[in-house]
């Protein structure tokens, strides 16, 4: 089944060139991509992710607010009783912040030089490793 990805643009900036190229490239790689649009709050991102029941939330952020946005998204997912959606990020994220975000539960970070192939491979890997699709299939089969 296609991997479903929410491409999310938090923050007040309008730098959506990367997010849109990513959306298009993931589509071309056979994924189903839900795009949130610009200027999303963490609450809006989590609502979309839950309603769309995506495998992955990919947050594209260039505004420098990543240390505010990622923790909020992770916290809200927990509050909504969702523990199986993988969160990854890309954009301008300073090297020093990478380990901090990983420690919070962000599974992968991509810098602005990453190719779309890097991204596709990365998403497939985190979904295989941390994603829920497999878990749910197994659960459904065992109850069927």
């Amino acid at each position: 089944m296609p991997i479903k990805v929410l491409v999310a643009k938090p923050g007040l900036d309008g730098h959506d060139r990367g997010a849109k190229i990513v959306a298009r490239a993931l589509r071309d790689a056979g994924m189903e991509v839900v795009y949130t649009g610009l200027h999303q709050t963490p609450e809006m991102i989590v609502t979309a992710a839950v309603q769309e029941d995506v495998d992955v939330i990919g947050i594209s952020i260039l505004s420098g607010a990543h240390m505010t946005v990622f923790p909020k998204v992770l916290k809200l997912l927990g509050e909504r009783g969702v523990d199986d959606i993988v969160v990854i990020g890309g954009g301008v994220i300073q090297e020093a912040d990478g380990p901090k975000l990983k420690a919070l539960g962000v599974r992968e970070l991509f810098d602005s030089d990453a190719t779309t192939q890097d991204l596709i491979d990365g998403i497939e890997r985190v979904v295989a490793e941390f994603g829920r699709a497999q878990k749910r299939t197994d659960a459904a089969r065992s109850t069927a």
Binding site: G14, R17, A23, G37, A65, V69, T116
Partner: protein, 562 residues
Amino acid sequence: MKMVERETPTGVEAGRDEWEQLTLLPFTARRPERRESFRTLSGTELQRLYTPADIAESDYLRDTGFPGQPPFTRGPYATMYRAQPWTMRQIAGFGTADDTNQRFRYLIAQGQTGISTDFDMPTLMGYDSDDPRSEGEVGREGVAVDSVDDVLALYKDIDLEKISVSMTINPSAWVVFAMYLVAAEERGFDWKKLSGTIQNDIVKEYISQKEWVYPPRPAMRLVRDSIAFSVRHLPHYNPVNVSGYHTREAGSTAIQEVAFTLAAGAAYVDEVRKLGVGVDEFAPRLSFFFVSQIDFLEEVAKFRAARRIWARMMKDRFGATKPEAMRLRFHTQTAGASCTAREPLNNIARTAIEALAAVLGGTQSLHTNGYDEALSIPSEPAMKIALRTQQIIAEETGVAGTIDALAGSYAIERLTSDIEAACLEYFAEIDKRGGVVRCIEDNYFQQEIADAAYDLYKRKERHEWELVGVTKYRDNSANPHVELHHVDEAASQRQLEKLAATKARRDEKKVEAALAEVARVAATDENIMPATIEAVRVRATGGEIVNVLRPIFGTYVETPIF
């Protein structure tokens, strides 16, 4: 179009045929060229060789001419950099107004000749620092400005009658413009002596930069009002800076950058003319802003073409009669999108080449990016090298000594003409689709840019366009470390305190009345500037003024285009 007095270049063409047979073919038979075709960054195919035959249809007096005369292909002024070099204008902005004021004074001490202000995202989008939407972004990517008190602090001890001040702000531009005017007045400066520029270009926001509050039509009215007010009260101020930079950074081609930007310029001309202001009266105050990308020849040609197209459009379409009303003046910034996060010092070389293209293209002012552009807002050392790059071009290379030195190059002249022709095709298409605002609403520009961006991306992935250190010659050992701009986490707290202090000092009754007046005017067709200036004077905040218009103007929601 064929010129009669010119010799037909049969001689050249014959010579070229002979060269191909005798020299080229035997050579390529032994050593084939390394690629089948060579394309510019924008995708235009380059010919192997340009000769006089490629510019045979061009007429020197008609198409190229002399600097300071229409069509201004060779430059907007008669002496260009022989009188004074371009304005070296490094943009700066971070933290609170006090923090940025320090950086301005540092840059002026280093020899910078103009000031350029970058605001933080909340200010740009019309949110106060204490709005929940602003969390994490106050003072982060620019300076936080909530009220006129911040503007006073921002330009403290800087002589606003002597140094030209540029402000990069758009959807909330009319409010910050009002703050600037009140700040100048409170410090005793004469509006008539203020020079500088406010970006105030809302069209490209919907097209590419994506900072907006209201839908396009009321937003155009705010631009129109601020231009009309400025033309009347600030004879040396540029009330709009029509910008292609962001369109290109969003992934457009060089042709789209020029075409969409000049089309936006024409849309503003149309709007202001509706108020009955003559084109010769206000067009001299329009200014422009382009990127200088890494494709050197294409960029030089682009700048020259832009001047020629604008001059012809102002004359033929709008009936401008004064040369100043046809003269395109522009600021340039080197390309953030060309900078890489890997091996960041390589960006110094890229920026130098881009800056040189801007200078050879005849720019009026220039911002050179810091080598850390792909990583954060610039550190002080990065900004210093960027400024030094400009100074080296001005003082050491000698290119400032003669005007439009690349004119007459077969390649440059041909590329210039080709860009002009391609832009004219875009203008015809935009007209056919019902004009600029309709094209925004129908996502025409957005789709064209998205397609171009994806096309370039694919070319990079296929290695048809290489990035040194990233897609080619990649060194996978650890990325060289550079010290980045230190984000002062306490700055947003200081800003919140400043905002609270301003609110505590002001007279709430006056603020309420002033905001009500702004709302009243907004619902009519009166000029919004006087009411906004009064609101700012009594310390209404930017967010309050922007919010009071939301119910009247509505808010904009994009239709995403991929």
